[in-house]
Amino acid sequence: MNEIAAQGLLGQPWLSLLTFLPLAGALAIALRQMTAKREANGAIGAAEQASIDAVSRRIAMLFTLGAFVLSVFITVAYYDPTESGYQLVESAPWLGQGVGYKMGVDGISILFVLLTTFIMPICIAASGAIDKRVPEYMAAFLIMETLILGVFCALDLLVFYLFFEGSLIPMFLIIGVWGSKGTKTLGGVAMPSRVYAAIKFFLYTLLGSILMLVAILWMWRFAGTTDIPTLQQTAFPAEAQKWLWLAFFASFAVKMPMWPVHTWLPDAHVQAPTAGSVILAAILLKMGGYGFLRFSLPMFPLASVDFAPFVYALSIIAIIYTSLVALAQEDMKKLIAYSSVAHMGFVTMGVFTATTQGVEGALFQMLSHGFISGALFLCVGVLYDRIHTREIAAYGGLVNRMPFYAFLFLFFTMGNVGLPGVSGFIGEFLTMAGAFKVNSWIAFFAAFGVILSAAYALRLFRQVMYGELQKPALMAIADVDAREMTMLGLLLLFALVLGVYPKPALDVFAPAVDALLRNFDAAVSAAGGR
């Protein structure tokens, strides 16, 4: 009976509904704000504004939770994890000449969709400390969610690009408006450092992706369409592949971010509000890895083989160098930001090994990093909300006052290190296993990253948690409350379950990854072996 009812709804545009549901929430908030303003004739009292703020928080929570429920429903009811192709595909004519609106998911994207809808309500819940311009803040997050979901669901290259680039706008505003205080002097001009970080983030990413746009246009001309499944079957000439690969690489390498174009990330992370950091680390960075897997590998297999050593080199540098940089950080958020760059190094390394373990490991690493780094930024946020500083030196001995917090923080620190039993281990292990197959030296050097990550993560934990509780400001600090406990607990649950039993996630990846690598190997051997 249920089966039949579910079948009847199969043809519906579920993914579009999911993608644009948060946008509807943003519109609802805007509408509420506007009507309130009209009623109050332009001037809104403080009490009234507080009630609007509360309402917009509730609307945002409602819509993000709605999106989560809907995404789970879609996955359970309609997604077949044994299938390797795109599912829930919907398309509509749009631009003509081979460009249409097309959505669909496969094993590579579905878990990112779920990750996004799962992280978003947590971001909203983590924004309790935001006290200025709350409706705008909530609307920005909802718009952000729509754009991110669009990135993961789009099956047309141009539509993908729209979502991919569009996501810069809300993030730019989130960092710039709700970022932290402090000034930065640049070329003799002083400006708030959040503004500096927002612009750096925007221009860096824009420059990277505009080159991808030119490549997209060339591919459009060559293949006569921007339909992603078709392009994945198109054999681009070997010479052109190199240029196209480089153009796409410019975009995704900045987004990941890879060394040496990672410098925007620490700035952006430090300045962004807690929820902004969470969304940045947990989801936005994943767009880069997703792009490599969705485009670079399947569309330009020959160039991917040619450039793989180059990527390995950058990944190894990222893993070792940024780990060392993390070791020297005084700012908690900066430390975690650099550790993110190092962890993304494992992802790029795994992707371009083009082995089953490597690619699945990269996907798993991204998923697990989503939970763990998100949680770490939330942990920093917990302290920041209480003491209003991110300086490591300002803390010490917190374990005496905050035992629950210490436990959670320790767990995620261990996840960051890649301790077996936590999801971080699986990803690092698989990517290194994949790298080992290709070249044992790569795995050898990457392993240093694991050691170094233990060094910086444990240093952070020791300095913040252990030692004498001396600082007077910390004497009265309160342990995590129920809200924070719930958020972190949920993330802990997922990181733990996936760490102990990764099979469900890997099973979802497997068919799509197998198909991808089959095509990849076929294309490479057709061109004369690798």
Binding site: E165, G176, R194, V195, L203, I210, W220
Partner: protein, 480 residues
């Protein structure tokens, strides 16, 4: 009766010419107190003309007056936008002019006459007709630039515009006479038929280059852009709004027809020149605007940069290229009118403000206006999903199709540079502490114009993108 038939094709132009003169006489009789009446009548006249042009859009293509003018899908497309932009320019001026004690009846009449010149430019298919159209337009615009005759800046702007404009007309005329000398023809098709033979002679090519220089001045493409910032800054703001919109399209349309029709056979001679003009304009627009503090000067450099992007399409020298230029210009005009409507709303007790810092914290004092400016400026910067992005997308596409990948890459990189100063306006509005609030006007025309144009940039454009492409494609196909 060919004459009657020819004249019937020129009904829009005749309407404007006759109407403008009638309004002038009316104004002389009634004096300055008729300013409001004349301006409303001018708007009505322009809209009526627009409707006539739209009604005539189904007529078959025709050359009138011995091929001096050509009425085709291309000219119709351009004329519709020009007339709408001119009507909006008058609509947006009223309040400003009244506030500055400039409410004189000549103002709308001059805009109507300029619109007449622009219509002639859109149809001109002969070197003499080309010059006639350009001068009719320019003379009216010179006066408009100096319209605030008690202000030193405004008269300076007018004089500067006139002197440099005259120089560019000289260049154009000189080029035209050389082309005539080596081809023996002024009519575009006649030139086209002998251009292959004539191009063997270097004098013909020199004529072509002079012609391009003159036209580049009119679209304010670098390195012929020097006049633009000064004139934009000095002229009364609504006049600047006019300058940035309709005349740019008219000049670009003229440029397109004057290249594509007579010189199709020697495209290899002029496409590289246009490509260089395009890169130079984009670079000048992008780098010079970074240091501007006056928003009108910023918009001047912005328009120079945009002309560079539009020229990419023309430099491709293909039907797709012309189509992309037309789409780009259409989007550009809507954005520009919207942006100037916002600038005109930057009014405090005690007059207009023009520095960018006055927008400080606008998102808190006037969230609606800030949102509109944000959409328009992201669109100007070419950030998806705004319409401005699609304008750039199509010109880059045309360049790549024509094998000019370097031009597309240059445009892409320079668009990131220019994104910086558009972002600056946005961050000043969103990130800085609020400046004193602007005067609020309930239900004003400016607010309406600004919000409509912002809505057209996003999300309306995403929906109508298909039909607009078809229209522009039909217009471009008429030239080839």
């Amino acid at each position: 009766m060919p004459l009657i038939a020819d004249l019937s094709y020129l009904i829009p132009e005749l309407m404007l010419a006759g109407g403008a003169m009638a309004l002038l006489i009316l104004g002389v009789f009634l004096g300055d107190k008729s300013a409001r009446l004349v301006s409303s009548a001018s708007i009505a006249l322009l809209i009526a003309t627009l409707l006539v042009v739209a009604a005539m859009s189904g007529w078959p293509q025709r050359d009138v007056f011995g091929g001096a003018f050509r009425i085709d899908a291309f000219s119709t497309f351009v004329k519709l936008i020009i007339l709408a932009a001119a009507a909006l320019a008058i609509l947006m001026s009223d309040k400003y002019l009244a506030g500055e004690q400039l409410g004189r009846f000549e103002y709308p009449v001059l805009i109507t006459l300029a619109a007449l010149g622009m219509l002639l430019m859109a149809s001109a298919n002969d070197l003499i007709a080309l010059y006639m159209g350009v001068e009719t337009q320019s003379l009216a615009l010179y006066i408009l630039a100096a319209f605030n005759r008690d202000s030193r800046r405004s008269t300076e702007a007018g004089l500067k515009y006139f002197v440099l404009g005259a120089l560019s007309s000289c260049l154009m005329l000189y080029g035209a006479s050389l082309v005539y000398g080596f081809t023996g023809a002024t009519q575009f098709d006649a030139i086209a038929s002998v251009s292959g033979e004539a191009s063997k002679n270097v004098g013909f090519i020199i004529g072509l280059v002079f012609l391009i220089s003159g036209l580049a001045f009119k679209v304010s493409a670098a390195p012929f852009h020097m006049w633009t910032p000064d004139v934009y800054e000095g002229a009364p703001t609504p006049v600047t709004a006019l300058f940035a919109a309709a005349p740019k399209l008219a000049a670009m349309a003229l440029f397109t027809r004057a290249m594509v029709t007579p010189f199709a056979g020697v495209a290899d001679q002029w496409t590289p020149i246009l490509a260089i003009l395009a890169v130079a304009s984009m670079a000048v627009g992008a780098f010079s605007a970074i240091v501007q503090t006056n928003i009108k000067r910023l918009m001047a450099y912005s328009s120079i940069g945009h002309m560079g992007f539009a020229l990419i399409g023309l430099a491709a020298g293909t039907v797709e290229g012309v189509r992309s230029t037309l789409i780009y210009m259409a989007i550009y005009i809507v954005m520009t009118i919207g942006a100037f409507a916002c600038i005109l709303l930057m009014r405090r007790r005690g007059g207009m403000t023009e520095t960018i810092d006055e927008l400080s914290g606008l998102s808190r004092t006037n969230a609606g206006l800030a949102l509109i400016i944000t959409v328009l400026f992201f669109s100007l910067a070419g950030v998806p999903p705004m319409a401005g992005f699609f304008g750039k997308l199509f010109v880059f596409q045309a360049a790549i199709d024509a094998g000019l990948i370097w031009l597309a890459v240059a445009g892409a990189v320079l668009s990131v540079v220019s994104a910086y100063y558009y972002l600056r306006v946005i961050w000043i509005m969103w990130f800085n502490e609020p400046a004193p609030v602007f005067e609020r006007e309930q239900g004003s025309r400016l607010g309406l114009t600004a919000s409509v144009s912002a809505l057209m940039m996003f999300p309306v454009f995403l929906v109508v993108i298909g039909p607009i492409r078809d229209l522009a494609a039909r217009a471009a196909a008429a030239l080839f």
